[in-house]
Assembly symmetry: C2
Homo-oligomer: 428 residues x 2
């Protein structure tokens, strides 16, 4: 098993960079605060993490985070430098196990005293992990097969209000949305099995509506039923969705954890829709946590098929550059050919409408020219369209047609009334 795990970090420290990086490597492999007799040279040579690279990136006047320390010998004004540090570990240390990998690359490091900032930017895993994990079952092409949508984004929407609707009200909203032409409908992450809207009533009601719609029209929108719960509940709910003709199960990733997702994936015959609610805890500070680039690799390998990436000009704090980097990464292979790349569908959402389509299209063209492999989820962009939800859906399809044809939205809107109304209503 002569393979290594690599992890890249952003750090901020008052220590010499080489010392700081060595402390990171020591803490997360053979080291301890006190050198113990068992830590021989041979042991270190075999199992110690290696500092692979240190790239200094700048300096800061004030520490980003409180509580860090300075070298003892230090006197005079303190310079805190920033750098990108790459460490590597032999796979021998933790084996191809995602929970134990997480303890290694994202364990005690964040709290180490020499660091006033430390963030995990990326991980690169040996293909041996593919022996333990299945990766996405459906991914991009499977999701297209399940929805029957090709050559354009999957137009999605989220059931709102987030909570409070009965199973019957939910089903009736789903009917309206299916008739409006959406390809994909998801539960809100706040609604899984609330006592006023039990999963076992809501999901059969919703799927019955969609089955009827499919019989009439030949089109079957994908419904991501929020199965988030305990392990046994999630498997049971998966089976209920499957037995009623559904094709997708949604989970709140941070609520369930990696081993639950891995177990669900082993059992799954449905596409797994990964919601990242709570992601802000990992991302909101520039100085701690982890980047989405690193985060999504764990979940892709464990088996999600879709994952949320926010959207351009979203209503949250995330910048467009970050959204784009996240979406591109979802579509970039995790392992070199001939290994599976484990690509997943990025899900755009939050304040999305026709308005952001050309920029989103351009951003994804960097993955592959004309790439439209995404779920484009709109709430208000559909429901608040002045001509009604069907026109809202049409405005989105028109916007993507325009983008693919290289025609500007205003120009395309001259001959497409729904798009024109959308631009008048939603343009930023």
């Amino acid at each position: 098993m002569n393979q290594r795990v690599h992890a890249r970090y952003w750090i901020e420290t008052a220590y010499p960079l080489a010392d700081a990086a060595a402390m990171m490597a020591g803490e997360q492999s053979t080291g301890t605060f006190v050198r113990v007799p068992g830590e021989t040279d041979q042991l270190r040579e075999l199992y110690a993490a290696r500092v692979e690279q240190i790239v200094e990136t700048g300096a800061v006047e004030k520490p980003s985070l409180a509580g860090s320390g300075a070298p003892r010998a230090h006197s005079g004004p303190l310079t805190r430098r920033t750098a990108e540090v790459t460490l590597s570990w032999p796979l021998e240390n933790m084996g191809p196990s995602l929970p134990n990998l997480l303890a290694t690359v994202a364990g005690n490091l964040f709290e180490l005293k020499p660091f006033s900032g430390l963030k995990l930017l990326d991980v690169t895993l040996p293909a041996a992990f593919l022996g333990s994990y299945q990766g996405p079952q459906f991914g991009v092409s499977g999701t297209r097969q399940l929805t029957g949508v090709y050559g354009r984004p999957i137009i999605g929407t989220i059931l709102k209000p987030s909570v409070g609707m009965t199973p019957e009200q939910t089903a009736s909203q789903v009917k309206m949305l299916a008739e409006a032409g959406v390809d994909f409908i998801k539960d809100d992450e706040l609604q899984a099995d609330g006592p006023h809207c039990p999963f076992e009533q809501r999901v059969p009601a919703v799927l019955s509506v969609l089955n009827e719609f499919a019989q009439k029209t030949g089109k079957r929108p994908m419904y991501a039923a929020n199965i988030t719960g305990e392990m046994d509940q999630m498997l049971r709910r998966h089976d209920l969705v499957l037995s009623r003709g559904g094709s997708c199960a949604m989970v709140s990733l941070n609520s369930i954890g990696l081993p639950a997702l891995t177990a669900l994936r082993r059992h799954a015959q449905l596409a797994i829709h990964g919601h990242r609610n709570g992601w802000g805890m990992f991302s909101r500070s520039h100085a701690t946590g982890m980047s989405f680039i690193a985060y999504q690799k764990f979940w892709r390998l464990a088996g999600i098929d879709h994952v949320h990436v926010n959207g351009l000009r979203n209503k949250f704090c995330e910048e467009d550059a970050s959204v784009i980097a996240s979406a591109r990464e979802c579509l970039t292979p995790m392992f070199p050919s001939p290994h599976p790349g484990c690509q997943v569908m990025p899900v755009f959402s939050s304040g999305q409408s026709a308005d952001q389509v050309p920029d989103t299209f351009r951003a994804l063209s960097a993955v592959a020219p004309g790439c439209v492999d995404l779920i484009y989820a709109c709430g208000g962009g559909i429901l608040a369209h002045p001509q009604g939800p069907p026109a809202g859906v049409r405005s989105l399809r028109q916007a993507w047609e325009a983008a693919a044809a290289g025609v500007s939205l205003p120009e395309y809107a001259l001959r497409h009334a729904e798009l024109r109304a959308a631009l008048e209503t939603f343009a930023s």
Copy 2:
């Protein structure tokens, strides 16, 4: 189910505080960015989160986190105020489900644009959660029974080097530590099932040493075997520990997630030792994430018996006041009598020795006079004692005797050579 979940947050915002709090409540219950037809007054009345309290705490000149916004109408210099906000939700919204509770109280909130800081400080749960979750099986009194240690802290230690030892080397270190007199020995969080030290070889080797030791001496130190892994692996490893006479299984909480812990707890006949590695991602920024007070409630209810709280004058960034608050909370009931309080053993570690004992004792006396319900884990404080590990353990027992007797360490050290040597070596 006329019960409510409460959550208290620290916020920093340029918006009027009442508006900001209302946005939090809306986002995490019935609201959406665009008011939809289904969000009726009646629905809001039944299911909307309530703003229970807003306590302004100050103002900041610069935003703690980047990316936040200001009210549109705003002009002139921006004041960002800080406050503590308490929200409440009807249990009807999510039911007594920890994963779905987490999506509600710690979901999208952190990324909301009006906030340049938002941290979850505490949650208060209705006792209905005790219908779904078992809480700690052993807790404080059960851990005392399993270890046979009464009237003083459980003196523990961590196997080091963290990784690199073979199963035989590990067992031989355990033998040395048992003979030194420790009550508790844990695997490092970096060592679960590394290919060079497989769980199925290490754990039988270690427990065989401890069984032999128990036969000879009548004393059986508790060994927290790191079972962290996939769901099926964890249950299998639990059973192996049990079948070889072990009494404790350790898991990396952030690696495994709540549903895996709940499933493990349902299966468990061993005490569950909760390691919080990765905790820095939630705690290092004052402006995002969650407090340990909130965090540990989820895990206690799901079923841990012990949880790490760092230690006084530790080698990490955490301040003493935070360590103390965490430890006290572990020993404070989560639910009022006659419900179970779900108290768990706080585990002190990181640079601990005899030196911190009096302050630790004083800090825990606030829970109950003379309270010594903790695991006091020392690495160097035992192994680096100048008279050897047995003297290291004796120095710790002496320090706790002194604290309980109200005698200062220097005074007690006059007649206790091991303590004297410890103070000379480790005093801060």
